[in-house]
């Protein structure tokens, strides 16, 4: 591995200061939460960091605090903690299930919420070192290449998909993203946090290099909320979603009052299906309703040459996710 310097951050502010100092020195730096993916990228050369700012030594941002109206989850909580957290039961299923679906126990034991949400794409062109948009280039090699795994929504000019499992779940839960940088704390809605490639094809979010995702704020789901995360993968585990669906429903008796339906793995950012959400309002959840929602989900899909299979998959996945939430 290339030579690098590790800096143990003592606090979030310390980490941001270390980043600013490295930036001022002209060094390439990276924050390290769990570090699993980061070290892969450094070994591959797709991340050139000279300085790693180790967040393991930060004691903050590792807890969950719940009030009747709002829940705060620290960005440095591990996925294992998230998946097993006692405060995140019942209506939180979508977040727990999403956390539990990531990688393997070994990865979840160190991986953080912030790291999962901000991980770079797993597009095989980007990860194999092609000079694509994601590294500041001016081409997406998937367009005329092997695009089986690429976006059917929101693509262009880059078509890599957002790899995070937590991100769709957090968007479905209407999370606000807390970002700490040299200028202080910012709070961003999902719409402000994630960025489509037609705005910035090099990035998946609006974090500045010296900024950290320190936590998320979520309206505490009340009575009548049900949720789930369905992840379709090419093998049973240890991989990213081909398609995933995060659903949160606010039920009123058997009817849906409000719905959030967010896709993972099919778009450059977590993909909110606002048409489906509106259509579901006021319906009584049933198998035919789920089926129709699934059909509606892909009405605007724009597959590439080799990822047409993702369209029926997405439709079926939305339907199956909703079916899970029909009361027994």
């Amino acid at each position: 591995m290339k030579a690098l310097t590790n800096i143990n951050a003592r606090s979030l502010a310390d980490a941001v200061a270390a980043a600013s100092a490295a930036a001022a020195r002209g060094q390439v730096f990276a924050f390290s939460g769990g570090g699993t993916d980061l070290l892969q990228q450094i070994k591959d050369g797709t991340n050139q960091a000279d300085v790693l700012i180790n967040l393991r030594t930060v004691r903050e941002a590792r807890t969950v605090s719940v009030s009747p109206t709002e829940t705060w989850i620290g960005g440095l909580i591990t996925l294992t903690e998230l998946a097993e957290h006692a405060a995140l039961s019942g209506p939180w299923a979508v977040l727990r299930e999403a956390a539990a679906s990531v990688g393997t126990p070994q990865i979840r034991n160190v991986a953080t919420l912030a790291g999962n949400v901000t991980q770079r794409p797993w597009c095989w062109y980007y990860r194999n070192g092609f000079p694509c948009f994601k590294v500041g280039g001016s081409e997406c090699f998937s367009v005329h290449g092997e695009n089986q795994q690429h976006a059917i929504f929101g693509g262009g000019p880059s078509y890599s998909v957002h790899p995070s499992d937590l991100a769709p779940a957090l968007v479905a839960l209407d999370a606000t993203f807390e970002v700490l940088g040299p200028g202080g704390l910012r709070r961003l809605s999902a719409a402000e946090f994630f960025v489509l490639p037609n705005q910035n094809p090099a990035r998946e979010n609006t974090l500045a290099a010296t900024e950290l995702l320190t936590g998320v704020r979520i309206p505490t789901p009340g009575a009548g909320v049900v949720s789930t995360y369905l992840k379709i993968t090419d093998r049973e585990a240890w991989t990213h979603a081909e398609v995933s669906v995060a659903v949160r429903l606010q039920m009123e008796d058997t009817r849906i009052r409000t719905a959030s339906v967010v896709l993972g793995g099919v778009a450059p950012i977590p993909w909110r299906l606002t048409d489906v959400e509106q259509w579901l309002r006021g319906t009584a959840l049933s198998a035919p309703v789920a089926r129709q929602a699934g059909a509606l989900a892909v009405a605007h899909a724009q597959p590439l040459a080799k990822n047409g299979h993702k369209v029926p998959m997405t439709s079926a996945a939305v339907e199956r996710a909703l079916l899970r939430l029909i009361p027994a």
Partner: protein, 718 residues
């Protein structure tokens, strides 16, 4: 014919491996665990281009990096890797290697695939060696490239070799490998229906957990090479030939290795590069391949295209089979490129024309039953199709058409009917199969598939030495390495049985050419039957000595050796198998799950039931991976591989595999050590075919391309 086996004292009983404790305590020393005083670490730089000529290579900056001890390239280390490319893909023949014209060097110019080695560095630690690689400057002239075997045969295709892209055969002739039996035209004339189908299969890596590595150490003119090899004797001979040494000046040691599955036969380029770096630094050198190095330096099962034409009568009798096949060998002909399967059928009119073709993908190597699983997938897919089209049960169709012993071609024994029949019963074939394929209403559709095989269990030459001392301690010397199947234990068990002593009284010495006699190598599923036979013969000799002279006393020992070359008198000796699998295909998500898997095998007498069972289970699971997931995908525009590594190739995990039910039908045909036959490769041969046929039975859609990934499945459903 088949005799029911009689129970023995040691053989046939579940026996823990003789080295089991070392394997579960971390004490087992694999090559990369070794350390020698003053040892250097080495790394290899590889071509980033699929086809390019090196105009200039500048290693000066790399050489100046503190800690770097040597940098070698094609300019200063021009060594032919004899086993890396051989005419006709015919390994184990010095004569053929001598006449081979299209040779692979340890560093090649031009480079002919992404991953072709271009330089190596030895340094005081591996980080420095890696850094030095990045400092090597290479000026490449990019050349046009071609990835697909059929495209490579086009008149205007880029030439990977001056002679063209059709691989040269053992006579250095560029011609397809043709095998003709009977009269094909007459066969088709006799047919009442003719079926045609094209199949293609993926590029599958052995993906053994232990990446290639080698530790080379010179003492004077003698090289000691510690390396994970499936054959210490073959590796030693290859090293000696490539380096211009006598065999006895090379010692190869391998006590533990992390799998191979066929691709660590012969010597590796890693072995040669380590030896050369060690020579020039005058220090022991540990060369380590990264996982990507291992993936791209030498790959596994060759990708194929298979065009079948089959003639049948309405009653299901096959009258003619024609296969025109193409195998992508990468830029070097390491192995045969075969497509097996036609020989499973009795049909007298058969023609196979096979073109092994150079491409600018990485090199194809041997992977567990190198020519069989992809070919059996092809032939048994079209036969399954024919059976269902004719309204026949594929099992009945098979009984009608499979190869059976004849007066002209007797077998030592024949168990295929019995294997299939046992599978039909154990699996519940009639209840699980849809009589009309795809008739399950779905959307999650169940279906069942079947396939069968026979595979050589021939005898051949190998050696063993056995000795006894005055305390009645027996020591067995066999030149085997233990790739994973448990050869040390198996050899010990055969010796113990033959000697009539408990296994605890037998010490097995293996994995070191200085201590052990020639052994055939852990390839071709030959160790148990060939080296095992040598053990039996050596023990006989020892027993005769004991009978003549009595047990040794004092410091005396008695030593016996044997190098038998047993024959089977013109008979065919085969192992047999039938697999039955039930799948569940989610036709809306494109997910295939294996619900039930029953594998029936006749592998003669089973020496160690536990390790034999797990050879089959492991092979089946690898075959399921080949059927559903594994492929090295290339970007057509750039010639870059996209799916290197375990994550990208989607290797099966604990959660992906069902329990594989294995049943052995034990017989003793009177040949081989106590009647033992082939096990290791047999289980993978028929697994992809069985899975693909089950998917057809579930969905009614014939999948003609391996791996059967979601995009292909959902494409067929659309």
């Amino acid at each position: 014919m088949s005799e029911a086996v009689q129970p023995f004292t040691t053989i046939g009983h579940v026996t823990p491996r003789v080295d089991a404790i070392a394997r579960v305590t971390g004490q087992a020393r694999y090559t990369n665990d070794l350390k020698l005083p003053g040892m250097l670490y080495a790394r290899v730089l590889r071509s980033p281009h699929p086809h390019a000529r090196i105009r200039h290579i500048d290693t000066r900056e790399a050489a100046r990096l503190p800690g770097v001890r040597a940098v070698i390239t094609h300019e200063n280390a021009q060594v032919v890797w004899g086993a890396g490319a051989v005419a006709g893909g015919r390994q184990y023949s010095d004569a053929i290697k001598e006449i081979t014209r299209q040779r692979r060097y340890i560093f090649n110019n031009p480079v002919r695939c992404v991953g072709d080695a271009v330089a190596a560095v030895a340094a005081t630690d591996r980080h420095i060696a890696e850094q030095a690689l990045a400092l090597i400057q290479i000026d490449y002239e990019l050349l046009p490239f071609v990835l697909e075997p059929e495209a490579a045969l086009a008149a205007d295709a880029p030439r990977i070799w001056p002679e063209g892209n059709l691989c040269l055969d053992v006579h250095n002739q560029a011609a397809p490998v043709v095998a003709e039996h009977g009269d094909l035209a007459a066969g088709f004339a006799a047919a009442e229906q003719v079926f045609e189908q094209r199949y293609d299969t993926g590029f599958v890596h052995n993906a053994q957990l232990e990446p290639r590595c080698a530790l080379a150490h010179w003492q004077g003119e003698t090289l000691t090479l510690y390396t994970p090899t499936q054959g210490i004797a073959n590796c030693r001979h290859d090293m000696a030939r490539d380096l211009g040494l006598e065999d006895q000046h090379v010692r190869v040691v391998c006590h533990y290795m992390g799998g191979g599955f066929g691709n660590k036969n012969q010597n590796q380029d890693a072995d040669l590069i380590a030896a050369i770096l060690a020579r020039h630094t005058n220090a022991p050198v540990m060369l380590e391949y990264t996982r990507r190095d291992d993936w791209l330096g030498m790959h596994g099962r060759w990708p194929t295209v298979q065009q079948y034409t089959v003639g049948v009568k309405h009653d299901g009798t096959v009258t003619a089979i024609q296969l025109i096949g193409f195998s992508g060998m990468g830029p070097y002909r390491k192995n045969a490129g075969g497509i097996g399967g036609l020989e499973l059928y009795a049909c007298p009119n058969r023609s196979r024309s096979l073109s092994p073709v150079y491409t600018n993908r990485t090199t194809s190597g041997n992977f567990r039953a190198p020519s069989e699983p992809h070919g059996v997938f092809g032939i048994e897919s079209i036969m399954d199709d024919i059976a269902y089209t004719l309204g026949m049960d594929p099992v009945a169709f098979t009984f009608k058409n499979m190869l059976r012993p004849t007066a002209e071609q007797p077998f030592t024994n024949y168990s295929l009917d019995a294997c299939i029949q046992m599978g039909v019963e154990q699996f519940g074939w009639q209840a699980r199969r849809n009589v009309i394929a795809g008739s399950d209403a779905g959307p999650i559709k169940r279906g069942a598939g079947f396939s069968f095989m026979m595979f050589r269990a021939a005898l051949g030459m190998s050696s063993a030495i056995v000795q006894v001392d005055a305390r009645q301690r027996y020591t067995l010397f066999v030149g085997v390495t233990d790739v994973g199947p448990g050869a040390k234990t198996t050899m010990g068990m055969i010796a113990a049985e033959a000697l009539g002593v408990p296994l605890s009284q037998v010490e097995v010495v293996s994995g070191d050419t200085d201590r052990c006699p020639y052994s055939v190598g852990e390839s071709g599923s030959r160790t148990t039957i060939m080296t095992g036979m040598a053990v039996v013969e050596a023990v006989k000799d020892l027993q005769q000595q004991i009978a003549a002279r009595g047990m040794p006393t004092g410091d005396d020992i008695l030593i016996a050796s044997a190098t038998p070359s047993p024959t089977i008198e013109g008979k065919m000796r085969q192992c047999f198998g039938a697999h039955f699998v039930e799948v569940e295909v989610d036709t809306r998500l494109g997910t295939t799950r294996i619900i039930k898997y029953v594998a029936i095998h006749e592998s003669g007498r089973i020496i160690n039931p536990q390790t034999a069972r797990d050879q089959i289970r492991g092979a089946v699971i690898q075959g399921i991976g080949q059927a559903l997931h594994e492929d090295l995908l290339y970007d057509p525009a750039s010639g870059q591989p996209l799916t290197t590594g375990y994550y990208r190739a989607r290797h099966l995990t604990h959660l992906d595999v069902p329990t594989i039910e294995v049943h052995f039908l034990e017989v003793d045909d009177g040949y081989g050590p106590f009647g033992a036959k082939t096990v290791g490769e047999s289980g993978i041969i028929l697994a992809p075919a069985a899975v693909a046929n089950a998917i057809f039975n579930a969905t009614g859609k014939r999948m003609t391309s391996l791996p059967i990934t979601r995009d292909k499945l959902l494409g067929a459903m659309a």
